[in-house]
Amino acid sequence: MADLLLSYIALAMILFSIGFLGIISRKNIFIVYMSIELMLNAVNLIFVALGRYNESMEPQVMAMIIIAIAAAEAAVFLSLIVVLYRNKKSLNSDIFNVLKQKDTANG
């Protein structure tokens, strides 16, 4: 089992799906963030499994780069959450909708 590519892929897909479900179902912005991290990890898993399958080191490098980017992302994302929470006193992602078009009469 552990030597089959498909089992790793299936695990990765399950994790990816869980991440996606988290994004669409949760309003709490922390959980949305964590779901994104989970999806990144699922992709990492696919990379590494394929690297093992093809006997190539490059996917591992790629996965490492993804992890590094995730770190950068974490810094920015978390600081944004702090700012938003400070201004709105809420963790609800639905209220962050300032981009919505206000005047719908006609252009």
């Binding site: 089959l4 590519l5 179902s25 006997e55 490098v61």
Partner: protein, 169 residues
């Protein structure tokens, strides 16, 4: 033996994931996520990626999620401040059903790969030495660019999180 380890890790990973999206307290979710990430680290080790295993545990579980926990605790969110999520479970169920075709598609796609045991490996494969050679020979420039990115995000995070005296007033 390896199969059992893999299965255990997989169950832990999936269980942590479900825990993450089901707990209403962010704190609990974060801890579940750590379980998932560590299990994934184990799976990386199974896949002959020892460096990634270390990075996963140290950087992800150790640094990123810890930072997350730190922020959660720092904000000190009370229960009544948590968003009201009445449709959470039903959305998860509908979403899961909608995701089935996608999963099937991907798995079908990978199923077309020729079957091949992943146990037989080159002697040097996966060692930290070969990883380093790969990284610093082929991927040096992206690697350096990532340092730029990290720096930029650092600066960005500081700028965002700084209290704006003029606006807060």
């Amino acid at each position: 033996m390896v199969d059992i380890i893999f299965l255990g890790l997989a169950i832990f990973a999936i269980g942590g994931g479900f825990g993450m999206i089901l707990f209403s307290q962010p704190m609990h979710s974060a801890i579940s996520l750590i379980v998932t990430l560590i299990s994934l680290g184990g799976i990386f080790a199974l896949l002959s990626a020892p460096f990634l295993f270390m990075v996963q545990i140290i950087l992800y579980a150790g640094a990123i999620i810890t930072l997350l926990l730190f922020i959660i605790m720092f904000l000190n969110i009370r229960d009544d401040e948590l968003p009201d999520e009445p449709n959470k479970n039903i959305t998860i169920i509908i979403g899961a059903i909608l995701l089935i075709p996608f999963n099937i598609l991907i798995l079908k796609a990978f199923n077309t790969f020729p079957e091949k045991s992943m146990n037989i490996l080159g002697k040097d494969f996966g060692s930290i030495h070969s990883f380093g050679m790969e990284l610093f020979n082929k991927w040096l420039v992206p690697f350096e660019l990532i340092s730029m990115l990290l720096l930029a995000s650092l600066v960005g995070a500081v700028v965002y999180a700084r209290k704006d005296k003029n606006r807060d007033g």
